[in-house]
Symmetry: C2
Subunit: 200 residues, 2 copies
């Protein structure tokens, strides 16, 4: 019954570990890879390591980037008086796709989730507070997802940022509760931005 060659089995196991890739899909992908030209296989393989090795976090906003500061932080045309706080780098892409926001970003790389042992110190909150010392920031838009963890994080941030005299707002509830920012269309994101309300 054990007829699959070890390198194939190994590849299937590795692919199987990726999110949303079940055993069946991993198998399909593995056999597809075996049918590809060796050059294309090498390109695929190296693109994985190269992405991991060449992509760092921006020293300002903590978004993924291959140059520091990242393209957005380095863009002088953007409004530096406003920072949109997001959970993950993919959320920056979702915001940029919406094309309606021209301020800066700050990526937390997570949310406060006590059940998973993730506290404020595990997130890029110190880095955010440091930006507030030096920058002339007038508003922080907290655009964490409308989930329990996202709301908790928003409340926490507003409690430590409001005393600094900076307005904190929460992205509008145009988003269905329990959802994930990554999946919304431009109009929903744009509406949610317009509906933002101040956290006091």
């Amino acid at each position: 019954m054990k007829t699959t060659a070890k390198p194939i089995e190994n590849l299937i196991n590795q692919l199987n570990k990726l999110p949303g890739i079940g055993n069946k899909t991993a198998q399909r992908l593995a056999y597809h890879i075996l049918d590809m030209d060796i050059e294309k296989v090498k390109t695929l393989s190296s693109s994985i390591v190269e992405a991991k090795e060449n992509v760092k976090e921006c020293s300002i906003c903590s978004n993924f980037t291959d140059q520091d500061p990242c393209g957005i932080c380095a863009d002088t045309r953007r409004d530096e008086s406003i920072i949109c706080v997001l959970e993950y780098p993919k959320d920056v892409e979702a915001m940029e796709r919406a094309g309606c926001y021209f301020g800066m970003y700050h990526v937390l790389h997570g949310v406060i989730a006590p059940t998973k042992g993730i506290g404020p110190l595990d997130l890029k909150i110190r880095e955010l507070l440091k930006r507030l010392e030096s920058d002339e920031v007038k508003e922080i838009i907290i655009a964490t997802n409308p989930t329990v963890e996202g709301d908790t994080t928003a409340l926490y941030l507003s409690k430590i940022i409001n005393p600094l005299g900076i307005k904190t707002t929460r992205i509008g509830y145009g988003l269905p509760v329990g959802g994930d920012l990554e999946y919304y269309d431009e109009v929903t994101i744009s509406t949610a931005l317009d509906n933002r309300r101040e956290l006091k």
Copy 2:
């Protein structure tokens, strides 16, 4: 709008080329990979190239293997008088999973598909005929998929093998027409094997 770092974009593009991986999934996978430990990323990356580099075709049955001859061809307990002809290596796995067949295999690496420019010379048919010269083969079970191409290939094979005095059978139509062998359960495959009929 072009805010994604190039190595990320490159990785997304590479993943996007894999079958069944759309742009959205490619993005999810890419960001997941960026969040993985570098060691795990390297393991994933090298498993891809290693599978491609270390897996060859068995010189007897043309199945993928990391040793030549493959484990099945080298297994003296198997019945050498019967060869099951399959489209792809993944079909060997499906057959072995069914656990009801103890003969040998021959993998064609495709089917005759004139519309795609694939003729008999593009498949491992010469290799099959060579086996029939030397081996004491009494029956060829043609288990290509019950599609137009699979049936065409079966008919072609029976026409060139029958004159050699070797019985050719077609795997039974327990399988729904238009399907793909890879997806069937043990019982269906086992029934289909029992229902095989001779091609005259």
